[in-house]
Amino acid sequence: MTDTTAKNGLSDESEGMSYLDGGFRKVVTVYLPLALIMVVLIFPFYWMVPTSIKPEDQLIDMDRYNPFFVVGPTLKHITKLLFESNYPQWLWNTMYVSVIATFLSLIASVFAAYALVRIRFRGAEMVGAAIFLAYLVPPSILFIPLATIIQWYGLFDSPIALILVYPTILIPFSTWLLMGYFKTIPYELEECALIDGATRFQILVKIILPLAVPGLISASIFSLTLCWNEFIYALTFLSSSENKTVPVAIVSEFVDGDIYRWGSLMAGALVGSLPLVILYSFFVEHYVSAMTGAVKE
């Protein structure tokens, strides 16, 4: 990974052959298509903003008001969301489940990745491959049997069910990502510590983890996003309104026949996305390395 960024920096510094294509040609072949794709990519997210601050009459009267402009913006939809619905509760549920699930799977993944990369017990390669295969098992084929298992454990309609099940998505991913990071840490450091009488646990906590902090950040940011985004398990395992997570609640609680629902729906979607987008904007680099790192391994 460090290797990639180094090369990347290098190729950006050097002018290379870029002097060959300048001016008008580049506008047509690069900037124009790029701008078009970016507008399409950003539009649905952007479109939540004007919709969530538009007064209701403007939302449904597109002949009199141009839908692209907002006349007299209102915070009504957002205040209604925050003070007259269960939305804060849903937001809290999502956050609480995501953070705990991420934390649990990070701990499990750190131990697993360390064991697979550095302890190299008998069969470590096979276990590593099995964990990769676990990454390829989609939730869509697991949710039905899991529902019966969750019921059996008496965890139905409880956030604990999600906290226990989400790590099945997060652990394979985080373990693979962390294995990549651990591999880059020189083995000599560990040997020195072993000679000084440190146990494996001490080595992991005091030497490996501090050196793998970027990897830990990448894994947790990405895991948080995955949890926040998760839908099918939350939809299946939760039934009472006050336990729901934001994605499930938006789909099931907000969708009534009301023609005026769009304002509050879009406000809900916007407020539910913003925490992630803000988090993401602070950690773009970690996020990208999480995304590309797990694939490159």
Partner: protein
Amino acid sequence: MSQTTASAAGSSSGSERTLWQRLSHDRNFLGLLFMIPAAAILLMFLAYPLFKGVWLSFTDAKIGRDGVWIGLENYEWLWDDKIFWLSVFNTLVYTIVASIFKFAIGLYLALLLNEKLPFKALIRSIVLIPFVVPTVLSAIAFWWIFDSQFSIISWTLKNMGLINENINFLGDPNNARASLIFANIWRGVPFIAITLLAGLQTVSPSLYEAATLDGATRWQNFRFITFPLLTPIIAVVMTFSVLFTFTDFQLIWAMTRGGPVNATHLMATLGYQRAIMAGNLGEGSAIATAMVPFLLVAIMVSWFGLQRRKWQQGGRDD
């Protein structure tokens, strides 16, 4: 730390070491110990349900009632079920069309982003936004964009004079399929583009310089340098993309719930409807289990099909 080791050495007095001390130097025991948390969760909530799902598909289990073994009855039932075959057809169309477009647009976008650009970091972070916004929430935004009365697309096209009537995006079977595929492409392109971009950045510029000196055109540069060097990453990325498109649930559930008249039911959504909403766990499990062979084929095709190229090009074989 030094204190504990000193006292430990003192108590064990030379050659006699306690069981714990011997075990803590044993690779296999330590490895096992460190694997316990991850293995416990994956075995209990991933491996076990995987087998339980297959087992359930041979029973007539309903919600709140354990089923009895009924053999292949669920599968025989599905074999004659037109809606099931419609969902298979939909899933295949959805996966194939969306994957082709995602790959083409993703690769194109990656190549564009690999050019020398001002504000490159900013552009890259904007491109990733569809991937960061939770899928269901962006699906809700698409639902609004594709609304039958207040669609911004219909409005714009009407004002440009291109159409007279609102487009019935989600009410007409083929329009609904196209709209969902569009939303899926929108959501999947950033992932493919950014991962391929990371691959592109590892390609040394000197290769292009050498090829250009030898008279290679832009297309030849791409065809004989970029693409071969990128195939290993393409294989992995497309395997993931095909896998997650095939098993997609969220987008459909948030936008159409399988409607109009089952025209957009994928196997995952049909499974949910039959198992959870109608309560027929056995039948739902049979639908979910029926996805497995398709998934294996999809993985094999995208994985081995592209993997073969890797050694053909003399790449690293790992």
